[in-house]
């Protein structure tokens, strides 16, 4: 087991593209960290640098107490699960799982024992003699997991391992992967662009955007106190409502004119962004903000109302038992649920 430390790690591709701006963070021993962000933000690049598949341009990467910048991937004692599983098509399931051990000089009997144990854990015992082409997508995914487990690595690296599975299987595997990681207690870095995976699996989430880390925090912190408008709108479905406003005299007014209650102004003044999550408002005739509902979306358990507040787009989610129609209504905002962001940079105030 080991912790992972990145110290000012930077990545510039040979074509001059800066994929990762210098970044530092630490993953403590046994933690499950999820890297999340939009496509092309550099998640895979970061993970591949940790794996040793991509050279580090600048900075230090350590796994355990050892700086591993120049250590061969095979010597980092890591295991990686790829999006397309990357199984060896010409080897049986058992050979696929045992290949890494074989190259480390583990004895045949020992390999066999470990492969069987991993197969048992993953319900693959009946498939050990099959080739990957004779397995379903979910089974291949398990084999890829098994290949990672048998090596008893210090660190698991996952690059969107579930994104080739259908929605139902993905939910099931999500739980299994997490349970397995808890049981084995192996430090893990998991890349995804699915925010549900990020929220449900992570001990801590690292939100990335365009080669930079936007925020690091527990799922609760990321959702409850987003560090920027980017995080606020990336995490959460539907995303947080962001409205242009103006602070002054200890109060915040929306550009439409109305005053926002419960805004933590703290002496800020000037233009800013007001963030309110769709579920943090209540429909009430006595509310503080006028809300003009254009569309009602039925989601079963929830109902989404899309419309505008002070001329700016706004969405509200209400429980299914609450009455809602198109037209004018008013909203009251729950206390301490108003987020303020810097208008220019989008940083949290």
């Amino acid at each position: 087991m080991a912790n992972v430390t990145l110290q000012d790690v930077r990545k510039v591709y040979p074509n001059g593209f800066e994929a990762i701006y210098p970044c530092s963070f630490e993953v403590p021993d046994g933690e499950f960290v999820v890297l999340v962000g939009p496509s092309g933000c550099g998640k895979s690049t970061l993970l591949r640098m940790v794996a040793g598949l991509e050279p580090i341009t600048e900075g230090d990467l350590s796994i355990g107490a050892r700086i591993v910048n120049d250590v061969d991937p095979a010597d980092r004692n890591i295991a990686m699960v790829f999006q397309n599983y990357a199984l060896y098509p010409h080897m049986t399931v058992a050979k696929n799982m045992g290949y890494g051990l074989k190259n480390r000089g583990t004895s045949k009997a020992e390999i066999d024992k470990k492969v069987r144990a991993a197969a048992e854990m993953l319900n693959l015992s009946d498939y050990l003699d099959r080739r990957p082409s004779q397995l379903s997508g979910g089974q291949r995914q398990r084999v890829a997991m098994g290949r990672a487990i048998v090596r008893e690595p210090d660190l698991f690296l996952f690059d969107e391992p579930l994104s080739n599975l259908d929605a139902k299987l993905r939910n099931q595997m999500r739980i299994e992967v997490r349970a397995l990681q808890r049981r084995l207690g192996v430090t893990s870095m998991y890349v995804t662009h699915d925010q549900v995976e990020a929220m449900t699996m992570a001990d801590r989430i690292i939100v990335m955007n365009a080669g930079r880390i936007e925020q690091i925090g527990t799922p609760g912190e990321i959702y409850g106190r987003p560090a920027s408008t980017f995080v606020a709108s990336f995490m959460g479905a539907p995303p947080m409502n962001l409205l242009n406003g103006m602070a002054g005299d200890g109060a915040v007014r929306l550009d439409g004119g109305e005053q926002v209650p419960h805004a933590p102004v703290n002496g800020h003044a000037g233009a800013l962004m007001v963030g309110i999550r769709p579920e943090d408002v209540l429909l009430s005739e006595a509310g503080d903000l006028a809300f003009n509902v254009h569309i009602v979306e039925e989601l079963g358990a929830l109902r989404l109302l899309h419309g505008e507040v002070g001329g700016q787009a706004f969405s509200v989610s209400v429980a299914k038992d609450q009455n809602a129609q198109v037209g004018q209504t008013r909203l009251s905002v729950k206390p301490s649920s108003v987020h303020l962001f810097d208008a220019a940079e989008g940083r949290r105030l």
Binding site: L53, A86, L87, Y88, P89, H90, Y99, N103, R147
Partner: protein
């Protein structure tokens, strides 16, 4: 695949007929004729022929010249196939390292495929040219009295080198595309599983190239057996003399230089059977056995 149905039953036959005509005129008719001729002894002056049964065939088994050509053909085929595959694979592996992702280079290399074989063949002949060839001069500078077309072994070396040379680009392109079809992540998974690049190659890359390799094996054997005719003819210039010869070239020499049409037909029938066997091997065993997905 979508099945097309024709209303008029003659239309498909009409559409196929040019192809069928070509096959009939250039393959079945000569093949049938050769089969027939192989049972006759031709008068050397073309005044008719006598039916001799299987004598042309039995004559082959006892002919020392034919045995020599057979031995040489086997050695020649093995060497040409082995070296053209091995060198092409080596080059393809090196190129693949550089080319991953770089499409422009790959397109450039495709041009080599289009241009190289005839040019390479001609250049090879020029390099081995008796009076001006660079290789000949090099050999002579090294103290090897190299005499193409006179010394059996010297001619054999030239045949093998030029044949290998001419075939490398074709093999190279097939190997390269085979290598590029292996997903990058499979290589990467292997890098995490195995430190040694050499052993990764034999454990992962090579087996995944096997379908390409077996296909090329058949292609190369066929090439060495039959398509090297032009190279050999250029080097030997129709003068059998003391020079080594492949079976195909012997068919030509015996038939058209020696006037023994019956014997040469028997030889070509033997070769046809060989091609048939190779084709069956390819379809029956290799094509079926070596696909993983």
């Amino acid at each position: 695949m979508k099945r097309t149905t024709f209303r008029n039953p003659w239309l498909p036959i009409l559409l196929l007929s040019p192809q069928l005509a070509i096959i009939a005129v250039f393959f079945y008719w000569p093949a049938g004729y050769a089969l027939q001729t192989s049972f006759y002894l031709q008068d050397p002056f073309g005044f008719g022929s006598t039916f001799v049964g299987a004598e042309n065939y039995t004559r082959l088994t006892s002919s020392a010249n034919y045995q020599d050509a057979l031995t040489f053909t086997i050695v020649f085929t093995l060497l040409v196939t082995f070296f053209s595959l091995a060198i092409a694979l080596l080059l393809a592996v090196k190129a693949d390292k550089v080319l991953r992702g770089a499409r422009t280079y790959r397109t450039l290399l495709m041009w080599v495929y289009a241009i190289a074989p005839p040019v390479a063949g001609l250049m090879g002949v020029m390099l081995f040219d008796q009076s001006r060839g660079n290789l000949t001069q090099l050999f002579q500078a090294l103290g090897w009295d190299y005499t193409l077309g006179v010394n059996y072994w010297d001619t054999a070396v030239a045949m093998i080198v030029v044949s290998v040379w001419k075939q490398i680009p074709v093999n190279f392109i097939f190997f390269l595309s085979g290598l590029q079809a292996i997903p990058r992540s499979v290589h990467e998974a292997a890098m995490i599983d195995n430190r040694s690049g050499m052993s990764r190659f034999w454990d992962v890359t090579f087996p995944l190239l096997a379908p390409t390799g077996f296909f090329l094996l058949i292609i190369n054997i066929t090439y060495a057996l039959f398509d090297t005719f032009g190279i050999i003819d250029t080097l030997v210039k129709g003068e059998p003399g003391n020079n080594p010869m492949t079976l195909v070239y012997r068919v030509f020499v015996d038939g058209f230089r020696g006037g023994d049409l019956g014997g040469s037909s028997a030889q070509s029938v033997v070769l046809m059977v060989l091609v048939l066997i190779l084709t069956i091997v390819q379809f029956r065993f290799l094509e079926r056995r070596i696909h993983y997905t």
